[in-house]
Subunit: 264 residues, 2 copies
C-alpha cells in the first residue's frame, strides 16, 4: 500500500512546499492517489492548494493528537489529490512534543494505528503516495515525519548556504534510521531553482552529483517566475501554467521517480 | 549603549542571514561597532563571515548556557564587526529549552547579566548594535531573541508565501511585547530579492507598504546573483563586490536606518 515520503530540508526557502505540491499534482495527474500532509505551521501547502483557513481544522495538529486520519483529510480541486491541512496550533507542537515521552512516534502511530485497526488499510490504502511537507527545522515535527516515512526526498536549492546544510540533514537521517526507523531510505535529491545564467547553480549541481551520485535526480527544476506566481492563485503551477518550464520540470520529475520506483 | 535588533522571520530563505551579515558590515564600515549573534543552528552567518567550524565553540549555545559573552565572541576580518558563532549543539536547544522554567529569558539574562555585573557595560558597551540572526521558526530560539531585543527587523522576500507569514510573525511580536518584553518595537521591514522583471515583486511590495506604511524601508534589496555568490568566499557582498547592486542596496539600507535612528 501507500509509500510515505518526507519532503524535508532544514534550510529555509529551498522549495520543499513547491516540490510537495507540484510533484504530488504530477503524480495525481497520471492516476496515482496522493495525500499531502502539511506539517509546517506556516501552512504554505494548504494555501498553495487553495484550502481556506476556516476549513483546515483539526488538520495535522489534530492527527498527531489522535484525530482519525479520515476526519482530517480535505479534498483539493485536483482529482486524486487530498490534503491534511496545517493550522497555527502546530506552531506550539515543537514545545508540546518535548514534554511527552517518545514524542518522535506520534505521527507514525497516527498513520499506522489506522493500519492496525484495519481502517488505515481502508484509509491509507486509497493512497499510493503520502508526501509530508516539513517545516525548515530539524525539530520534533521533522523527526516525526522521518520516523513515519519510508523515504526522504530532499529539495536542494542551487545555492551555497543550501549546500552547507546537506551534511547536517544527512546525519539526522542516519540517526533516525539507526534509532527510530530502520526502513527509512533516501528517495532522492532534487535540485531546485537552478538558474542557467549563473555559475553558482552549476557549481552546486556538480558538487552534489559528485557526492551523492545516483541519488540525485537527473531532472533539475529551473528558477521560473510562473512557479512563484501560482500559489497566489491557490493552484499548483501544473494547473496555473502547464506549459511553463517549471511545470514541465515537475512533470518530468514525477515520471523519473516512477521509473526509478519501477526498478526497485 | 548598544541597541539589540532581532533579525527574524519564520518563513525560510527570505534573506535573514544575508541581511544580518551585510547590514552589519555596512554599519561597521561607517564606524559603528557591531556584533552579530548567530542563533541559527545552520550557522550560515558564521560561514558567511568566514569563521571556521573548529573556532566556533562555545558560541551562542554556550552563551545561553552561561558562558560569559566575552569568551564567545570571535573577531571577523571586518574591522568593527565581531560575531558570536553558532554550533550544531544549538539544534538541540529548542528541545532542551522546553524542559526548563522561564526558557524565554535565557538570552536576555545572558546579555543583561553582563550589564548587571557591570561587565556588560564593559562588554556590550563596545557595541553600538547587536544583530541576532534567527532560525526560520517561531520557536524558543526566536522567542529568546525577541525577549532580549530592543527591536525587530523583518526581511521580507517579495514572494507570495513570504507575505502570508507576515501576520503570524506580527502576532508573535505582539505577544512577546505584552508578556516578555514591553520595550520591543519594530525596527522596520526590508523588502528583499526584489526582481523588477516580475509583477509579483511589485504586487507584494505594494501590498506591504499599504499595510505597514512607514515601517517599510524605502531601500529595497534587489535579487542580485553576486549576493548569493559571496558566502562561498566567506565574505559579505560589500567586500566581495562593493559596486554590485546588492552591496549598494545594503549600504543604502544602513544609511536609511541610521537616518531614522537619528530622528528617534
Ligand atoms: N523553481 C522555482 N522558481 C521560482 N520560484 C520558486 C521555485 N520554487 C520555489 N519558488 C519560490 O521560492 C520560495 C521558496 O519556496 P518554498 O516556499 O516552496 O520553499 P520551502 O523550502 O518550502 O520554504 P520553507 O523553508 O519556508 O518551508 C517561494 O516563494 C516559492 O514560490
Ligand atoms: N538579494 C539577493 N539576491 C540574490 N540572492 C540572495 C539575496 N539575498 C539572499 N540571497 C540568497 O538566497 C538564499 C536565502 O537567503 P538567506 O540564507 O540569507 O535567507 P534566510 O532567511 O537567512 O534563510 P533561513 O530561513 O534558512 O535562515 C541564500 O542562498 C542567499 O545567498
Ligand atoms: Mg515550505
Ligand atoms: Mg538564515
Amino acid at each position: 500500500s501507500g509509500r510515505i515520503i518526507a519532503v524535508a530540508n532544514q534550510k529555509g526557502g529551498v522549495g520543499k512546499t513547491t516540490t510537495a505540491i507540484n510533484l504530488a499534482t504530477a503524480l495525481a495527474a497520471v492516476g496515482m492517489r496522493v495525500l499531502i500532509l502539511d506539517l509546517d505551521p506556516q501552512g504554505n501547502a494548504s494555501t498553495g492548494l487553495g484550502i481556506k483557513p476556516e476549513t483546515r481544522p483539526p488538520g495535522s495538529y489534530g492527527l498527531i493528537h489522535g484525530v482519525p486520519l479520515g476526519e482530517t483529510v480535505r479534498k483539493t480541486e485536483i482529482p486524486n489529490l487530498d490534503l491534511v491541512p496545517s493550522t497555527v496550533e502546530l506552531a506550539g507542537a515543537e514545545y508540546e512534543l518535548a514534554q511527552i515521552s517518545r514524542p518522535q512516534y506520534l505521527l507514525k502511530t497516527a498513520l499506522r494505528s489506522e493500519i492496525d485497526s484495519g481502517s488505515l488499510e481502508a484509509t491509507r490504502a486509497p493512497y499510493d503516495y503520502i508526501l509530508i511537507d516539513c517545516p525548515p527545522a530539524l525539530g520534533m515535527l521533522t523527526i516525526n515525519a522521518l520516523a513515519a516515512a519510508d523515504s526522504l526526498l530532499v529539495p536542494l536549492q542551487c545555492e551555497f548556504f543550501a549546500l552547507e546544510g546537506l551534511s547536517q540533514l544527512l546525519s539526522i537521517y542516519e540517526r533516525v534510521r539507526s534509532s527510530f526507523n530502520s526502513v527509512l531510505q533516501i528517495q532522492g535529491v532534487v535540485l531546485t531553482m537552478y538558474d542557467k545564467r549563473n555559475n553558482l547553480s552549476e557549481q552546486v549541481a556538480e558538487d552534489v552529483r559528485n557526492h551523492l551520485g545516483e541519488k540525485v535526480y537527473d531532472t533539475v527544476i529551473p528558477r521560473n517566475v510562473r512557479v512563484s506566481e501560482a500559489p497566489s492563485f491557490g493552484r499548483p503551477v501544473l494547473l496555473y501554467d502547464l506549459h511553463c518550464a517549471g511545470a514541465q520540470a515537475y512533470a518530468h520529475l514525477a515520471s523519473e521517480m516512477l521509473k526509478r520506483e519501477g526498478v526497485r
